[in-house]
Subunit: 360 residues, 2 copies
């Protein structure tokens, strides 16, 4: 599929995105942080959280253009201890506040072994794994969470009371790629539903409920007052677990930062959102070299699991992202024609031509 | 159901359990910690992790009796930074090492805002939520994880390569009960399978696979080379998420402490296991009072969710445990006749008579 898409050189796309942010009055260092977040998501193959959002989501270019995102907002530390802090994003780009918060968590972890920063009044920050992965080059385990759009039903309920809350954990490997977990705490994210709807397909049991809270296979029911199910699907297959993980994210991002929880924040009808960024220094626990060797051993053991009947092989989290990154850095990033259309439109609005594809 | 069981006074059961541990050469402070862990699980209604284990699991009384658990082992800090540490349990009671590790995490969080302790060479520690909940009275969010028995298949694989790894997160409330999440990262824990097998019942699709890694509804298949599925069940409903959470627990407990990961630890055919204990000081982020008020608001909002068609109401994590605790402290702890049998046997072996039931 990806090969019918036009591919764009990663370096050229990076330069273009950076120029667009700067043109929209974002200071150079902040433009670089926001560009990193979007292009890194595209490189890792998380296409739903890269440039696909730049020209369409209020938290990015449209918000900068219409004044709902403050390009010059400076994230501010409003409370602090040796290993913890709360940062106020002051309504600027989510990737800027989230990057500064992760940098602060890493700086704290360098000193004490652990750093955790809860962030309020930020915006959509892209892919969680971008921030968790920032910890890797410092020999740290990284953690990142955010509150997503209101879209998930709590177990035994009806309607949307929980955010589509993602979390990511990254841990350094040795010769093997790092472990990178990046998951929503709902069964699936919204994008897969839109795809099914577009294609006129039914969705598997366990993805969504209708307006009365009953399981359904019709994706349209989601837009008629329905909701996504928490990870686990039905009560008998553990939906209270995904529900609880979603609330945990609400607490760490929203309640700890003092901003609120998914249902209270989204009631405000704005796109402000909180995050939670963390880092643990491996050498706060022991030898980094021994850690890397044991990670490799674990990854190799998991990968060597005998496949199920009919399955190809067992994958470990981060493997696919690592392969995508290598491919895309070499061969360019493939963008869906529809995404290219939105980028072309933005390019003409800001007067900075989109680079030509390298392959299409 | 619980009312056909005999009930035992919580205070008397606590005194008896404590006396049994002391009789088996456990020093008073450690006997108290182990007693707390087991009786607290029973009070919270986590019956599978309380006294039901005391007389039957190698990690408790049988191990103390046959010398595989060292009653006088002193957990030792072998590596430390301001907010982090690794502790070696030296093969003593799991609840002792886990309690000391949580106490250390709390002490560190008091100073820096965050404390995380990875523990190696410990044993079965009971219910994760007991340790996470230790943080609550200190105005902290508590976290606890451990590597369980090998029983879970990674997505697309066959056979047991992952532990039945639980995690718990506890956060203080105000007038409402605290939030207490306590979940295994498999769809269900092993106990529910045993129950289905005993009753000759089929299990829901999404719980287990057979020896070839194919979904099955026959609980017997689990004991014929099958395995539990990770939370999420099938690949299309997010099983790689539960799989990844299980690996995350392996990393934080086993790789960080230097002990190994589920598959490598269980290969050793002993019952040594690692844990990960953490605490975050709410006041490292902001006002505890404001946090408590917002937690109450969140819990009340979730609980007020309109129920699904046919459902009674939406519960919040910790609510059931809190209600069980109130009931059992007042009316006694109900034990299954089979559990009472194992306790009677232990009582006669150590020469300390089991208290009489208060109601039966």
């Amino acid at each position: 599929m990806a090969d019918t898409y036009a591919r764009y050189d990663a370096g050229q796309i990076r330069a273009w995105t950076n120029a667009v942010f700067e043109k929209l009055s974002v200071p150079p260092q902040d433009a670089a942080a926001a560009t990193d977040a979007l292009v890194h998501a595209d490189l890792m193959g998380i296409d739903s959280h890269g440039l696909a959002r730049l020209a369409v989501l209020q938290s990015y270019a449209p918000g900068l253009q219409n004044g709902t995102v403050d390009p010059k907002a400076v994230p501010e530390v409003v409370h602090e201890a040796a290993s913890t802090a709360v940062m106020d994003g002051h309504g600027g780009l989510g990737a800027v506040a989230a990057t500064r918060a992760m940098e602060l968590a890493i700086a704290k972890a360098k000193k004490t072994g652990a750093g955790f920063v809860s962030v309020k009044n930020s915006k959509h920050y892209g892919a969680s794994s971008h921030y968790a992965a920032m910890a890797l080059e410092h020999g740290m385990i990284g953690l990142s969470m955010t509150i997503g759009g209101l879209g998930v039903v709590p177990t035994f309920g009806r309607g949307r009371r929980l955010g589509i809350n993602p979390m990511s954990v990254a841990a350094p490997g040795g010769d093997e790629p790092p472990f990178i977990l990046d998951i929503a705490t709902s069964v699936v994210a919204g994008g897969k539903l839109e795809l099914a709807k577009m294609r006129g397909q039914q969705v598997p049991t366990g993805w969504i409920v209708d307006a009365e809270g009953r399981p359904t296979n019709d994706p349209d029911d989601f837009w008629k007052g329905g909701a996504l199910l928490p990870l686990g699907g039905a009560p008998e297959t553990g939906s209270y677990k995904g529900y609880g993980l979603s609330v945990m994210i609400d607490i760490l991002c929203g309640v700890l930062s003092g901003m609120g929880f998914a249902a209270s924040i989204r009631e405000g009808r704005n796109d402000l959102t909180p995050h939670f960024q963390g880092a643990l220094l491996v050498e706060g626990f022991g030898s980094l070299e021994a850690f890397r060797a044991m990670m490799d051993n674990m990854v190799q053991t998991l990968r060597a699991t005998e496949p199920a009947a009919g399955a190809e092989r067992v994958l470990v989290h981060g493997e696919k992202e690592f392969a995508a990154q290598r491919d895309r850095e070499q061969n360019g990033i493939p963008y869906h024609p529809q995404v290219v259309g939105t980028l072309e439109k933005l390019a003409s609005e800001v007067g900075i031509p989109l680079p030509a594809p390298v392959k299409g």
